[in-house]
């Protein structure tokens, strides 16, 4: 896995795509913010864009929305090349980029009405209703008359979401949508994303919160140092990460030596050990342990979490560059 991190995990498919970038590069002066980004956003997918702060997520999104001109590379949004096709594509795209942007002296409702006035797909007579619906949808109806200045971070975020949802969209782009939200607010965002997904809307969510992505996304793209280090369906990516067995036992030493004799790699972890299932199977491991007289209290299949995958993808690269000596999570022999 560590050797193949720079290549996309799944080959580009012939499936319809909502957005696609090829060889995207953006330089700001002498710094390269994003380089060689080949992103593919399948229609109907919920793509989680993961990456540490400063990995180029927002820059990529801004280029995808025509806000920023790429130094190099091509972008296709809803079948239209950018920036020329922006006027045809963007009306179908709702976006919350780099935090919500609104006028502090207007109320939440007035702010949305101003946004709505510039939505090409919204007829004038439907503006009022669309605004109320959007406010209702994000749970801001009660606070809609208050000035934006007095909104909490969570309310601001919700209003940003409401603006993105003013019109039924083909693609919704949410840049760090749960920033500043409490757990209830986060669940709400997940619910909205799930709703959009059910209706067939393509969603692009960027986040540095892995659990958020794991809970809501069908696809993942991992960005690191301005480039895509992995992308594909979430389940496939996780499977490719290999699996392990978590065994709870009091006899860690004995268990380790017996497994070592059977040429199964394992290492102590928590109240027991973690056994790699490469070249072996769970029953075999348990059999080995029981025959060696090790008391097994509990054995659970350990699925690679996104967190682990993420750590491996981003840290492995740093180790390759000699940036960090931090061991990757499973440093045991294979």
């Amino acid at each position: 896995m560590t050797t193949s991190t720079s290549a996309p995990v799944t080959a580009p498919t012939q499936q319809a795509v909502a957005a696609r970038t090829r060889g995207l590069r953006k330089e700001y002066g002498s710094t390269v913010a994003v380089d060689r980004v080949d992103l593919e956003l399948p229609e109907g997918a919920v793509l989680g864009m993961l990456g540490p702060n400063g990995s180029g997520k927002t820059t990529t999104i801004r280029m995808l929305l025509g806000l920023v001109r790429p130094t190099q590379g091509e972008i296709e949004l809803l079948g239209r090349p950018l920036p020329d096709g922006a006027e045809q594509a963007l009306p179908h795209v709702g976006a919350l980029v780099e935090g919500p942007g609104f006028h502090p002296f207007l109320s939440g409702r007035e702010n949305l009405i101003r946004c709505a006035a510039f939505e090409p797909l919204l007829e004038k007579r439907r503006i009022k209703q669309a605004v109320e619906d959007a406010l209702e949808r994000v749970g801001l109806a009660q606070a809609a008359h208050r000035r934006y200045r007095g909104y909490s971070l969570g309310m601001k975020q919700r209003l940003g979401l409401a603006a993105a949802l003013l019109v039924p969209r083909k693609l919704v782009v949410l840049d760090e949508p749960t920033n500043g939200l409490d757990p209830a607010g986060t669940r709400e965002i997940r619910r909205i994303i799930a709703e959009l997904h059910d209706r067939g809307t393509t969603v692009l969510v960027s986040s540095h919160l892995l659990s958020e992505v794991e809970a809501t996304c069908t696809h993942v793209a991992v960005l690191h140092r301005g480039t895509v280090v992995a992308q594909g369906e979430l389940t496939e990516l996780l499977q490719a990460g290999g699996s392990a067995l978590q065994v709870v036992t009091p006899d860690v030493e004995k268990a380790l030596s017996s497994l070592r004799q059977a040429k199964i790699s394992a290492r102590p972890l928590g109240e027991g050990l973690r056994v790699e299932l490469a070249g072996t199977s769970a029953p075999q491991v348990i059999e080995t342990l029981v025959q060696a007289g090790v008391g097994v209290y509990e054995a659970t299949r350990w699925k690679t979490g996104l967190e682990e995958l993420f750590a491996r993808l981003t840290e492995a690269e740093e180790a390759e560059r000699g940036m960090s000596a931090v061991d990757t999570l499973d440093g045991g022999p294979r």
Binding site: G66, L67, L90, V93, G101, F102, H103, L106, R114, E119
Partner: protein, 266 residues
Amino acid sequence: MITRQFGSEVRWMLRRPRTIIGLFGLVLVPIIISFGIWTAGDGGGGPGLAAILQGNGMVVPIFTLFLSLNLLLPLVASIWAADGLAGEAQHGTLRGLLVAPVSRVRLLFVKLFGLTAMSLFAVTLMAVVGIIAGTAFLGTNGMMTLSGTTLSTGQGLLRIALFVVLVTFQMVSIGAVALAVSSTTEHPLVVQAATMTTIIVFQVLGQFSSLDWLHPFLITTGFPGLIDVMRDPIPLGQIWDSTLLAGCYLLIGTGLAAMRLITKDS
């Protein structure tokens, strides 16, 4: 679609607290002038227009606008231009408009329209208040011109309307240049400072006769000539020159702003 965007822009500008405060301030100018002349009585007066103000209330709007054009109106125009692009960028609302999407050229026209509509409104408001305050404090009997003739009230109003249009045009031209500055920054104050500095420096430069060659290019050089509206009959030469000069500023400002906006990363 565009009318709806124009409407939204003007509503948005009118909802700003600073716009309301600014308009209120502008309206005070003709009132204070009328009151000042009234309290000064017959001993008041001064050069040019000020000399004929006593008992000539219809001149107050012209006098007010003429005075304000030097500093106050450019300031107001620069504030609107600053909020229009730099302010929107600062609040992150520019991104929202561009993603909506509003094409960048269209956006500039929406901003220019907002600036024009609000300038016309502000100048008209000052003129109307000027007429009322001037008539109330100083009385009126037609409009006495700088040429010594007296115009009927109707003709006087026409002169005021003409002056309103001319002053608005100067204001919008300054605002267009301010919009060009506004498109390059996220800091509204930079726009205001740059615009006002330019206006003041231009006026200072206009004082040096050694810089004669430069004067025809300074927009402020055209301001005094506009007062020809108060002569009878109106000599069009200076008025035309001033307006043409302002037109050049308008075109250059709009052009630069468009060029910048089209390639801008936001």
